[in-house]
Amino acid sequence: MAWVVVLVAVAGPVSAHRLDEYLQAARIGIDPDRVQIELDLTPGVSVAPRILTEIDRDHDGAISREEARSYEARVTGDLHLDVDGRSLALEPVERQCHLVGQVLKGEGILALQWEAKVPALTPGTHRLRYRNGHHADIGVYLANALVPASTRVAVTAQRRDVDQRELVIEYELGDPAQANVGWWLAIASAVALLAILGTVPRDPQGEQSPVILGTVPRDP
């Protein structure tokens, strides 16, 4: 896991940017066999030094790979994910996590991503529960389900607590066999359509005659 971190000493806050809050915005993608969580962490300008001190544990002004991993592990420990009451293990995704902008000015973002394998589920209704308890004292939360990439998954409801620390996503999982039937039907329909088009009589120029809806008189 590569972290690119630059600590910049800055005096003076940016007017009216996030101050004493720690924004934590999650987007959750559901596939039939896995769940992905993207979490953007944005400490406000007045809490950023505290958060960076927690990350930069040796206080050398730089964040080492180990310090980054350690903080990521702490965040991971503060998250909970279960499907139908069965806890799911969150695995950090191997990607570049980074600080965008300058955290000390209240606009840096720590972008983290996890994946969790979902055990085989029967077709039907399921319930995914996500809870974020990271820095509950200063946390401000967003949590949203992404539109599923898989046609087998359809989100039917989202329920949250008032602060969005917890999000319950109800979704319908389709039958893989039916999904395959759908594909075969689509392919068969396409083949049939091509066959029909191939038998349409054409005019001598080899082009279909246009349908004339009306004529407009023209100047000579």
Binding site: V14, A16, L23, A25, V162
Partner: protein, 354 residues
């Protein structure tokens, strides 16, 4: 004849009103855009872009021009300089003639109301800059975060063309306009109109850059009956944009009330609200875009979080198959962020060849 004179007077008053809001003072904007076929609008924008390029030396042109497939396309933000580094032609570095050419270009690319909105956002940023400038004599930008009317940037991503795709990018603190064009096709998404302060005065006149967005949204939520409100109003707080800068290509699950559950009058109010974003661009581009949004209205959702009394702090989102609009006060009624997206056509994805 009297009607003609009245129209001329109204137009003159409108031009004067827009001139007063344009922060590059002393320069009158060009004639306001009339509705044109989309291809003609592109030609007009290209012509204005080329006129601007003629005012620049080689160095200026190099700052302005970026390859179409490079990283500049997605390099935009609501943040001020010092936190986010923009590239392009910096307004503060331009001569009066060059600024006038930028004014002409923005007039060609934006609708009359869009131009007003953009200039009022810049005016608000300049007011904020002056309020943060420190004591007299202090160097501008002394707090190292730099904003204000000089700190807006213009970039051409791809060479201006009436046929090939290119993008006009204009933005700074609290503003990002990304207009992609290819012949008669266009997309002004993603764009980010925001404002701080939300209200200020110039020469005794109250300016609210995003005031119509606020007022129309409150009018709509208050036009819903109790049952409709129970569907539209989310039971949780939303403290920021969900799909702000950096969230290209993401689509969240829609929530709120479907427009198909609204009366025709309420639907008209929703369309009118959407037009505040879709109508920023010149009318010739806005008309087909609005037609597309209207066609998908039954699949469009309106969601609200917060109190429903105008003057309160509330978030709202409008989301359809080709549309995402979010309006998010930033812990203050005086600091508003919004985002305007088309998840199917951001950066002209539909008409730009891969």
């Amino acid at each position: 004849m009297r009607l003609y004179l009245r129209l001329v007077m109204l137009l003159a008053a409108a031009v004067a009103a827009v001139s007063a809001t344009w922060p590059f003072r002393g320069e009158a904007p060009a004639a306001l855009a009339a509705a044109l076929p989309a291809g003609d609008a592109t030609a007009r924008i290209v012509s204005a872009a080329q006129a601007l390029m003629k005012t620049l030396d080689d160095s200026g042109q190099a700052k302005l021009q970026f390859p179409f497939d490079g990283p500049q396309k997605t390099r935009w933000s609501n943040l001020p300089t010092g936190i986010f580094e923009r590239k392009g032609l910096r307004m503060g570095d331009l001569s009066a003639a060059q600024r006038a050419a930028v004014t002409d270009l923005l007039n060609a690319a934006l609708s009359r109301d869009g131009y007003r909105k953009v200039t009022e956002i810049i005016g608000g940023d300049e007011a904020l800059h002056k309020a943060n400038a420190g004591p007299p004599g202090a160097p501008p930008g002394g707090n190292r975060v730099i904003f204000g009317e000089d700190e807006y940037y213009l970039a051409f991503v791809g060479a201006p063309s009436t046929t090939a795709p290119w993008m006009l990018q204009f933005g700074g603190h609290h503003l990002a306009i990304n207009l992609t064009m290819a012949g008669s096709q266009s997309s002004m998404t993603p764009s980010l109109p925001a404002t701080q302060p939300a209200k200020y005065t110039i020469e005794g006149r109250e300016i609210r850059p995003l005031g119509k967005e606020n007022d129309k949204a409150f009018a709509l939520i208050n036009a819903l009956d109790a049952s409709q409100r129970s569907q539209a109003i989310l039971t949780y707080k939303v403290s920021d944009l969900v799909l702000g800068p950096g969230h290209d290509g993401q689509t969240i699950q829609p929530e709120g009330i479907r427009a198909s559950a609204l009366s025709p009058a309420q639907q008209a109010m929703l369309i009118d609200l959407v037009h505040e974003w879709a109508g920023i661009v010149t009318d010739a581009f806005a008309e087909p875009r609005m037609a597309e949004i209207k066609a998908a209205l039954p699949q469009t959702y309106f969601a609200w979080s917060g109190p429903t009394t105008n003057g309160s702090m509330a978030y709202f989102r409008i989301q359809g198959p080709t549309l995402v609009i979010e309006y998010a006060p930033q812990r203050s009624l005086d600091h508003i962020h919004t985002i305007y997206r088309d998840p199917t056509n951001d950066y002209g994805a539909k008409f730009v060849a891969k």
